[in-house]
């Protein structure tokens, strides 16, 4: 039985997760979940972000683990191999995911770091297409990759096999535009499980909120929900927002489609969009465009949505001033 489970995880790490990404992506695309927002520029960026790091960052990490560490610390190899599996898995899971939480959070809270992470947030849709979408330098300096490589070198390779696959599954599903967590909020007897689930791991609801183009509207919250595998870090550090709802729109409110190469290679290549954070003279962090004033069509659409809400229809019939 253990051999069978081990084989599943080995296959997940070698080809299974890649296959899952393509199957989910195909399902999302077929269901029209990207809408009309997957333009040529976005498609090129998503494909480049999926392939280029595999060709550039993969060999760099392999060099770090297979050449640099054995050369710099030859005696340290396998020194922690005596650690039992359960504790090894716990050590790897915490070391990897808490480091990624901090890496991610600092890119949001330290202004000069923001532009290295902006590419991941510029996608105006959620799904497998944008799950790997990152600036090349953000991917290259992914701190948790090196932490985990060190732990594998020290002898925790076997538990890492399981943790990496589980983490990858959770983060992929949290980015997916298929809201697998919705039944947990809709079916009453599943509510206790939902309560535990949404506080423990990243779900589409909590992670989509992080990718919303607005914050503090009750659903969207890009100022928090930084967790990748574990959402627990957001609960502990008070950066969590749980609404059990999904944002209406994603991305960055002032995004005007910076060229794919600028988003991938900034600051080496700059955007030609005037006023963009990635342009040569652009601001470090640009202020949000207030959504209700973004354009008149949006404003009309919003008013229609408000009018269509049953509770408001009932309220306005007795008190029309509620919409003013």
């Amino acid at each position: 039985m253990i051999k069978f489970i081990e084989e599943i995880f080995r296959n997940l790490n070698t080809w299974g997760l890649t296959a899952l990404t393509f199957i989910l992506g195909f399902a999302e695309f077929s269901l029209g979940l990207y809408g009309k927002k997957w333009s040529k520029n976005e498609r090129l960026l998503d494909i480049a972000c999926y392939t280029v790091p595999k060709l550039v960052v993969g060999p760099a990490v392999a060099y770090f683990g297979l050449k640099f560490l054995p050369h710099a610390f030859p005696a340290a190899k396998g020194t922690l191999s005596w650690i039992p599996f359960t504790f090894g898995a716990l050590i790897i899971a915490i070391a990897d995911d808490l480091t990624q939480y901090w890496y991610h959070r600092l890119h949001h809270e330290i202004p000069w770091l923001w532009r290295f992470h902006r590419t991941h947030h510029s996608a105006p849709y959620m799904g497998m297409a944008m799950a790997s979408r990152q600036n090349i330098w953000y991917t290259f300096f992914f701190s948790q990759t090196y932490v985990t490589t060190i732990l594998v070198y020290l002898g925790l390779g076997y538990p890492a096999l399981f943790v990496k696959a589980i983490k990858s599954l959770i983060t992929k599903l949290a980015h997916s535009s298929i809201p697998w967590d919705r039944p947990f909020y809709q079916i009453k007897w599943l509510h206790p499980i939902a309560w535990v689930l949404e506080r423990t791991i990243s779900t589409p609801a909590t992670h989509h909120a992080h990718h919303a183009d607005v914050t503090d509207d009750g659903v969207g919250y890009y100022k928090g929900n930084f967790g990748n595998m574990f959402f627990l870090w957001d609960i502990i550090f008070d950066t969590a927002h749980i609404s059990r709802q999904y944002p209406k729109s994603y991305g960055i409110s002032h995004y005007e489609g910076d060229e794919w190469y600028a988003q991938l290679f900034w600051p080496v290549l700059k955007s030609n969009i005037a006023g963009s954070e990635l342009s040569a003279e652009g601001p470090i962090v640009r202020e949000d465009v207030p959504k209700q004033f973004a354009n008149e069509d949006d404003q009309e659409e919003r008013s229609e949505e408000l009018l269509l809400q049953p509770s408001l229809v009932a309220a306005t019939s007795t008190n029309p001033s509620i919409l003013q």
Binding site: I83, L90, L98, E109, I284
Partner: protein
Amino acid sequence: MKTPKSTVQKIFRNAILSLFIYALPVILMFITFYIKGEKPWLKKDTKQQTISQQKQKDQ
């Protein structure tokens, strides 16, 4: 553009708590070993000795 002071303070507070969380599985592991009276790292030493002895023999 500077990071607000309140953000920096919160980052430092949370970072200190994080150090404890990083150490938590290691602390839990050694508490478990202490309760069970186990010293698995010694077994590893023995194994390493055997391997190095084997190498010496081979030479």
